[in-house]
Symmetry: C2
Subunit: 205 residues, 2 copies
DNA sequence: GCTAGATTTGACCAACTGGTCAAACTCACG
DNA sequence: CGTGAGTTTGACCAGTTGGTCAAATCTAGC
């Protein structure tokens, strides 16, 4: 009697369609932003009619937030796995490397977040100021510890983190510009070495 | 008899209103993107009625492109003034510094471009692949020259430029995130020193 | 203060948007 | 099969949007 799929365990069809919707939504939202995307567009991309899509998610907003919250965790994974007991330089370099790989392999996810944050994070502010803030507070302490013991050079830990994010995500977020300017050359050929060199020189004690 | 202000020299009122519209449009477009902004919103912010605004610009699209093309030049100025005959390290450092200042002083402009490029630059692709491309080609040659003579260390010139753009514009484009994570501290207090250090270490021969 | 042109506006329109709903269809399962 | 729940859809709605237009108002220069 409800107008939404039950809370019971999802049927085969539900699983398939929910996944198709989220995949389509990622495509559409990441290239047009929230307001720039239409429910029809997403439904079309998912191979469903609009009312059919709204049978699975109660609103456009619900699709968006489902997508965001489902993705944020994966997005922060690389930072989460920065190991306080590992070798500082190698830990940081491998973090940079993983972030860069994510820019290459999941550019839509990167652009989704970029879009949202550039516009003031109207639907993500909470997640930023709780989850992300907590994680960053924790990891900046780790970085400071490494600087205290002289294992890496002292720099501002927040700015260090920002630099890693901006340098790596730039290749996904500004992909069009990067490709226009580099022509045939694949940006991801030289980027890993460039970034490794940069951080080695910046942080080598 | 026309329905638009003549091509003749603009009246006092035209000057005032055109400027107010572009200022309002910058505000609105930079925070909501093109499709996310409405003509009513811009008109309201400019203190005009919607039909009145459309008396000065023929369409929403026209406002947007007028804004973009009027701003692109200013935006590229710092790079343009990179002096091939100056001291390489100081030239680059002062370029970084100017870009950072622009992020602080003109964050809306930065976000306007960011929004546009993240979404695939649908209305800016031409400007990118002509004007920007030409300028970048010219300046990467300058950078390569400096590397050839050993005045700065050899790195990939394109990636070097990208790094400067992403590191500096990050503070404008991702402002919300930066401020959430840094709390009370003003990001622009420590950023100049952080970036100067970074580029000195990266490029010192 | 008159007037021609410049400016402003309320009313309006067609297209689009997010969302609803009842009716129809399909599927799993006994 | 048959049947009830799960799924899909065409038709529809109200609000918003970009844009038009004729009429009203204002302004500058004579």
């Amino acid at each position: 009697m409800r107008d939404m799929p039950q809370d019971r365990r999802p049927t085969r069809i539900q699983k398939k369609n929910r996944a198709a919707i989220l995949e389509a939504a990622l495509d559409v939202f990441s290239t047009h932003g929230f307001r720039g995307s239409t429910v029809d567009q997403i439904a079309g991309a998912a191979g469903l009619s609009k009312p059919n899509l709204l049978y699975y998610f109660p609103s456009k907003e619900a699709i968006f937030t489902a997508l965001l919250s489902g993705l944020l965790d994966t997005w922060l994974d690389p930072l989460r796995s920065l190991n306080p007991d590992g070798d500082p330089m190698e830990e940081i370099l491998s973090y940079v490397k993983r972030k860069l790989q994510m820019s290459r392999d999941f550019p839509r996810e990167s652009r989704l977040f970029a879009n949202e944050i550039v516009q003031g994070a109207p639907r993500m502010f909470d997640a930023l100021s709780t989850d992300l803030k907590a994680l960053v507070d924790e990891k900046t302490k780790v970085l400071e510890g490494w600087m205290d013991t002289g294992q890496i050079k002292r720099t501002h830990p927040h700015h260090l983190l920002f630099s890693i994010w901006s340098l790596t995500q730039h290749y996904a977020d500004f992909d069009v510009q990067v490709r226009v300017l580099m022509g045939e050359e694949d940006p991801f050929d030289a980027a890993p070495e460039f970034l490794e060199t940069l951080y080695r020189r910046l942080l080598k004690p």
